[in-house]
C-alpha cells in the first residue's frame, strides 16, 4: 500500500493525548560514577577505576593478558590512548590488530579472542556503556570476541537515560550528527533458553571488563 493511502486509514483524534507528566520517572543518581560501578558489577561485568588514562590502558591490557589472549582487536580509543597503545601492548607481549566498525572486515575479526574499545558514553542510572557506529568505532569489538574490555573516561558518564538523546545530538561529541546506530551494553551476552540455566557468551562476549579512569 502506498504511504498516503496507509496514513489515510489511520483514525485521528479517537484517543486524547494527555498532558505529559513533567520530568523523568526517577531522579538521577547523585554520584554518577558510584552508581555506574555498582550497576555494572551487578550484571556480572568486571569494573575497575583508575586515576589516569594510561593507568587505565595498562589495566585493560593486563586483563586481556591474564585471560590468556595473545592478540586483541582494538577500536579507536581516542588520540591520547591510541598513541599509548602500541608501546603498552608491546611491553605486555600483546599483539594489537586495529579493528573498527567496518563490516567488510568482520570475517577477519573472527579469530580475535579479545576486543578493546573506548566507550563513547555511559549511563549511570541503568548501568550501561554506549558504543556508537562510526569508522573506528567499537561496536564490532564489543560484540564479536568472547571477551570485551571497554575503556571509559568518567567525564563521559551521563547520569540518566534522559540525558542520552541530547548527548547523541551534541555537535561537539558527534560532529557528523547523531550516529546511525548506537548500542547500549548493559551486561554480558546471556541466555536462559535451555531449562532456564543462565549461560554467558551466547552471541556477544561472555566476559566484559570496564576500566574507568577519573
Amino acid at each position: 500500500m502506498d504511504r498516503a493511502a496507509f496514513l489515510a486509514r489511520l483514525p485521528k483524534g479517537v484517543v486524547k493525548a494527555p498532558v505529559r507528566p513533567p520530568g523523568p520517572p526517577e531522579p538521577p543518581p547523585r554520584d554518577a560514577l558510584a552508581a555506574l560501578v555498582e550497576k555494572l558489577r551487578a550484571t556480572g561485568m568486571g569494573v575497575h577505576v583508575l586515576d589516569s588514562a594510561d593507568q587505565a590502558l595498562q589495566k585493560a591490557l593486563a586483563l586481556i593478558k591474564e585471560s590468556g589472549a595473545e592478540r586483541l582487536g582494538a577500536a579507536d580509543l581516542g588520540p591520547e590512548l591510541n598513541e599509548l597503545l602500541p608501546q603498552t601492548a608491546r611491553s605486555l607481549g600483546l599483539e594489537v590488530v586495529p579493528a573498527g566498525d567496518d563490516r567488510a572486515e568482520a570475517k577477519s575479526y573472527e579469530p580475535l579472542a579479545a576486543g578493546l574499545t573506548r566507550a563513547d558514553l555511559a549511563v549511570a542510572q541503568v548501568g550501561a556503556l554506549l558504543q556508537a557506529a562510526r569508522p573506528g568505532g567499537g561496536r564490532l569489538m564489543s560484540l564479536m570476541p568472547p571477551m570485551h574490555v571497554a575503556l571509559l573516561w568518567a567525564k563521559d558518564i551521563l547520569p540518566a537515560m534522559a540525558d542520552l538523546p541530547p548527548a547523541l545530538q551534541d555537535q561537539e561529541r558527534f560532529p557528523d550528527g547523531m550516529p546511525p546506530a548506537v548500542s547500549l551494553i548493559g551486561g554480558p551476552s546471556k541466555t536462559g533458553d535451555i531449562e532456564a540455566v543462565i549461560v554467558l557468551g551466547v552471541h556477544g562476549p561472555g566476559r566484559v571488563e570496564v576500566v574507568i579512569w577519573n
Binding site: 489511520l10 549511563v123 560484540l143 549461560v199
Partner: protein, 457 residues
C-alpha cells in the same frame, strides 16, 4: 479454547511453564516492585503512546521522513500478506539466499518464515530459544522462553543429529549454537529484526535483547529489514529512552537488558559501520481498525509478557491453547482484532477477570475491562432464555424465593447423581471436583421475616 485442560500427558509442560513464569515473576518483583516508580514510568509511557495514537498519521509521516532522510526505505503493509510480499521482494532484490532473524512476534504474526522458505531463501532464527524450536519444528512456548519446554537432553539430541555430537550441558549446547549461528551471521545477505519501539522525531528504532543476536542481525548483513507493528511508535527519542528502560524492567526486573540498539537508517553510511541498506516495514493488519474501536487500549502493549506471567489461567492452560502468536490476557484481547475467526471468540471467556494482569501491566491496560467488553459483544443469543429467566428471578423477591424452594429438590437430586450420570456439558465439568452446595429452600430474609413474625405474633 479447548475445554479439556490439564491434559495428563502435558503435565510436564505445565510444570515447565509454571517454573519458568515463577522465575520471571521473582525477577520482576525483586527489580521492579516499587509502586511509586512503577506508577511514574506508567504515567509517562502511557502519555507518550497516547500522544502518538492521537495523531498517528502525523507521527508516522514524521517517522517515515526521518528514516528516508537517513538513507532508509519505508514500506507500508496493509496486512500480513502485503508484508510478506514486500519482505520477500527486498530479499530477492538483495540476491539473498540466506537470512538471519532476531526474535519478533510481529514476524510470527505475519507467518514470514514459510513464505521466504517457499522462495528458496534459508531463514535462520538466531535467538537461542527460537533457533531450537525452529530446528525442532515446534511453535514457541512463551515469548521470553520459546524453548522452555525442552529438556537439555532433547536439545542435545537435536543438535547432535543436525550438527555434531554435543553433551547435554547448557554451556556446551550454547557454545555449539554460537558457532553455527556465527557462521550464519557472517554469510547472510539480509538480517531481519522486529522493533520494540521507534521514535518518530528522529526515525530511530530500538532493538532490545540479552543475547546479542539482534545486534548481529542489524549489523553484519548488507541489508537490514526491521518489521514494526504500527502501534510501536512513540513521538520522541526521550520517549524511546523511557521505553528502552521500562521494557526490561517489566519483563525481567532489570533497568536495562544486555543490549539495546538504537538504529536510525543505514549505519553503513558511517563508512561501512553497519548495513548498506535499511528497510522498515510498517504493518497494519487490523491495528488501524482496532484504534477506531473500543479495544484501542491494547495498542499500548509493549509485549513485555508480564500479563502472561501473572495470569493463573495462562499458567494452567499454557501458550498453545490460545491458538495464536499472542497468548495470555493480551493475546485474548489482541488476537481477535488481528484475525477474526470462531476459535477466537472463546478467548474472552477464558478469564476470571481477577485483575492481576492489569495490576502488573507496565502500561496499565485495563485487560479485564477489554475482555468484559468483548463478552458483552459476544453474549450468545442461543442462551437467550437463560439470562432472561435469571434476570427475572434475580430482580423479583417473590420469584427468587419460589425459585429457591423449587431448587431444593432439584439440587438434592443432582447431588445424589454419580458424576458419570450427569448430562454432559457445563454441569458435568462443574461437578467434577465439587460437591453441590446444600440448599435449604428457604432464604435468609425469609427466615428472618419468619422469626420476626413469630416474635411479634
Amino acid at each position: 479454547m479447548k475445554k479439556r485442560l490439564m491434559p495428563v500427558g502435558d503435565s510436564k509442560r505445565a510444570d515447565a511453564l509454571a517454573g519458568f513464569t515463577e522465575r520471571l515473576r521473582n525477577l520482576r518483583e525483586s527489580g521492579f516492585s516499587d509502586p511509586g516508580l512503577i506508577s511514574a514510568f506508567r504515567e509517562r509511557a502511557r502519555a507518550a503512546k497516547l500522544e502518538y495514537l492521537s495523531r498517528p498519521d502525523h507521527y508516522l509521516g514524521m517517522l517515515a521522513d526521518g528514516v528516508e532522510a537517513r538513507g532508509g526505505q519505508v514500506h507500508f503493509a496493509a496486512d500480513a500478506d502485503e508484508a510478506r510480499v514486500q519482505i520477500k521482494a527486498i530479499c530477492q532484490q538483495a540476491g539473498a539466499s540466506q537470512v538471519v532473524k532476531g526474535k519478533s512476534m510481529t514476524c510470527e504474526e505475519i507467518e514470514l518464515n514459510p513464505s521466504l522458505e517457499a522462495a528458496g531463501i534459508q531463514i535462520t532464527e538466531t535467538d537461542m530459544g527460537e533457533f531450537i524450536i525452529q530446528l525442532a519444528g515446534e511453535p514457541p512456548f512463551h515469548i521470553l522462553g520459546p524453548a522452555m519446554h525442552k529438556t537439555r537432553e532433547e536439545v542435545a539430541e537435536l543438535f547432535s543429529r543436525l550438527f555434531e555430537p554435543v553433551s547435554p550441558e547448557p554451556a556446551d549446547l550454547t557454545a555449539l549454537a554460537r558457532k553455527v549461528l556465527r557462521r550464519r551471521f557472517m554469510e547472510a545477505e539480509v538480517g531481519i529484526t522486529g522493533v520494540n519501539a521507534m521514535a518518530c522525531d528522529s526515525g530511530t528504532l530500538a532493538v532490545i535483547t540479552n543475547e546479542g543476536n539482534g545486534r548481529f542481525c542489524s549489523t553484519l548483513p548488507r541489508v537490514h529489514i526491521a518489521v514494526m507493528g504500527l502501534e510501536k511508535a512513540v513521538p520522541t527519542l526521550q520517549d524511546l529512552a523511557l521505553i528502552s528502560s521500562l521494557l526490561p524492567r517489566a519483563s525481567l526486573g532489570w533497568p536495562i537488558s544486555s543490549y539495546v540498539s538504537w538504529i536510525s537508517g543505514a549505519a553503513g553510511r558511517a563508512h561501512g559501520a553497519g548495513p548498506e541498506e535499511f528497510h522498515l516495514v510498517i504493518l497494519d493488519n487490523g491495528r488501524s481498525q482496532a484504534l477506531a474501536g473500543p479495544y484501542w487500549e491494547i495498542l499500548l502493549c509493549l509485549r513485555c509478557s508480564s500479563c502472561l506471567n501473572y495470569c493463573p489461567v495462562y499458567n494452567i492452560a499454557g501458550g498453545h491453547e490460545y491458538g495464536s502468536v499472542y497468548a495470555g490476557p493480551m493475546g485474548s484481547v489482541l488476537t481477535p482484532l488481528l484475525r477474526g475467526g470462531p476459535g477466537d471468540e472463546r478467548l474472552s471467556q477464558a478469564s476470571t477477570l481477577c485483575g492481576r494482569c492489569k495490576e502488573k501491566c507496565p502500561m496499565g491496560i485495563d485487560l479485564p475491562g477489554l475482555l468484559l467488553k468483548r463478552r458483552q459483544e459476544q453474549a450468545p443469543p442461543l442462551h437467550r432464555l437463560m439470562p432472561k429467566l435469571a434476570a427475572e428471578i434475580l430482580s423479583k423477591r417473590g420469584l427468587f424465593e419460589s425459585a429457591c424452594r423449587l431448587a431444593r429438590p432439584l439440587i438434592n437430586a443432582l447431588s445424589r447423581l454419580d458424576d458419570d450420570h450427569l448430562p454432559p456439558g457445563p454441569w458435568r465439568g462443574w461437578r467434577q471436583g465439587r460437591e453441590l452446595p446444600k440448599i435449604k429452600g428457604s432464604t435468609l430474609l425469609g427466615d428472618l421475616r419468619h422469626r420476626k413474625g413469630r416474635e411479634n405474633g
